[in-house]
Amino acid sequence: MSLNSEKQKKNLAQRQYKTKLFRLFCASITWLSTLILAVLVWQVTASGFNWLDWQFLSSFPSRFPENAGIKSAIAGTFWLVGLVAVISIPVGVSTAIYLEEFAKKGRVNKWVEVNISNLAGVPSIVYGILGLAVFVRFLALNRSLLSGALTMSLLILPVIIIASREAIRAVPRSIRYAAFSLGATRWQTTWSHILPASFPGIMTGIILALSRAIGETAPLIMIGALTFVAFVPEGPMDAFTALPIQIYNWASRPQDEFRNLAAAAIIVLLFILLIMNATAIYLRNRFEHGKNK
């Protein structure tokens, strides 16, 4: 059979048709999800945009919708993210370095790895229950920012560890060998070569994990974060609220005005998330580019 026979041509046309069909399928799915997101954003914007002004950002909550604002919620969210970062980044990255560079690769390591992956899949409400039992009650930290931050740190630690391990593992072995062959210790190799090379990946993982912490509501409700806070927290032991809790509180009220307030707060939350994700992408591109310079 020659390559130019009729049968061959027909067969080729069929194969190309399948490619087109598959492409169409993938494209429609992509656009469908984008469309749904756009509709959501549009709805939120439409109902909340008019309420979004300086008064809204700089006022405490109130029972009068026109006076209500998210000052304490924004402050609480920033406090929370800051504390979560301080707790989870050193712990998560150190764990990843230990597991990848120092721990013996064996059954124990594998077992730890499986458990961390499983922890990443545990529903956030379960972390809330844990936080309530351990931090709020047992360690008597009460309903403080610290309780919330510790609970959130537990929640995102698996994500940070997994992302950091992937990033560390992606550093070519040849770089490690080169360093070792020059008489470097494990620590010198890790500090001078492994960490800089895996920095973009680790950073991306951290920021995505922190973004998740910003948006989580269930664990905070579980540990009893307040929903009506007329003050800005001044230290880690203060009671607090956060944006998702404020949104949850307003959205569950019957009055339309409060639902609009919830929409306005969602816009603020989305904006913060967007900024964080943009930072992650910027950092990754910048450092990956820097590496190949």
């Binding site: 690769k105 070519p172 040849s174 770089i175 490690r176 060998y177 080169a178 360093a179 070792f180 062959s181 020059l182 008489g183 470097a184 210790t185 010198q188 001078s192 070569h193 090379a197 590496k291 190949n292 310079k293």
Partner: protein, 271 residues
């Protein structure tokens, strides 16, 4: 020396020297066996490596040449499940003895790898890093220049020392890796098929370089390329399936090998 190993030597090679390193024995392997989990990669090898000479290790793929080379600066420590029997003495020191720190060994026995593996840093920092972390006290600038000159790379890069090393060509990168190893001022340079990913011109430059380095360093090179072994080395070891078939003067190995297997291999009848 083990009686199990029938080893023959050329007229220039003296093997009847004591362990203490006189008469130029720098490294001696005694009944060395290396295992990957259960599989035995190196089978009871004994031989001696002479200082300020180039010794090449030839043999078919998978015969254990690289494993043997990596045992000499304990790079096999990073491979899971590797165990070792027998002894390797370096200047009379048992490399696998108690209290021997592999970090110090790698300081004294440098290595150049099969594929060029510069750090994703500047040319300057590629060379400066090793001496810095090992507490080098002299002028790093001078050391960088000296190392690059020794590796015959200085003229090509002297105006762009702070450019990323990844921008160099493959041959230049490999010479940079040699310069990086030389900057540690090692006593031995282990080279694991250093030219296998290079073009003939770059290969020729590195071979020239090895000739020049011979006066100051002891070089052990694993190579697939028998012409290369014949061109550059003083001694040649032929390894097959983990066993040392024959070691001796290069000229003798290539022209009057004692073992039939060696003759078959160097004349291209197999491998």
């Amino acid at each position: 020396m083990s009686a199990k190993n029938k080893i023959s030597f050329g007229q220039n090679v003296r093997q009847d020297v004591s362990e203490n390193g006189e008469s130029g024995v720098l490294i001696s392997l005694e009944n060395l066996s290396i295992f990957y989990s259960k599989k035995q990669a190196i089978k009871d090898i004994s031989c001696k490596i002479f200082s300020n000479k180039i010794t090449s290790v030839i043999g078919p793929s998978g015969c254990g040449k690289s494993t043997l080379l990596r045992a000499m600066n304990r790079m096999n420590d990073f491979v899971d499940g590797v165990s070792l029997e027998g002894k390797i003495y370096f200047s009379g020191m048992d490399l696998y003895g108690d209290g021997v720190d592999p970090v110090e060994i790698r300081h004294r026995i440098g290595m150049v790898f099969q594929d060029p593996n510069p750090f994703p840093k500047s040319i300057y920092n590629n060379i400066a890093w090793g001496p810095k972390i090992n507490g080098y006290e002299g002028s790093i600038d001078e050391l960088v220049e000296r190392s690059l000159k020794q590796a015959a790379l200085w003229d090509e890069v002297k105006d762009r020392l702070h450019m990323s090393a990844l921008k160099l060509s493959g041959g230049q990168q490999q010479r940079l890796c040699i310069a990086r190893a030389l900057a540690m001022e090692p006593e031995v340079l282990l080279m694991d098929e250093p030219c296998s990913s290079l073009d003939p011109i770059s290969t020729a430059r590195i071979e020239d370089l090895m000739f020049e380095l011979k006066s100051r360093y002891t070089i052990i090179i694993v190579t697939h390329n028998m012409q290369q072994a014949a061109r550059i080395s003083d001694y040649t070891a032929f390894i097959e399936a983990g066993k040392l078939v024959e070691i001796g003067d290069t000229e003798q190995i290539f022209t009057r090998p004692v073992q039939k297997r060696t003759e078959d291999y160097v004349t291209g009848r197999f491998g």
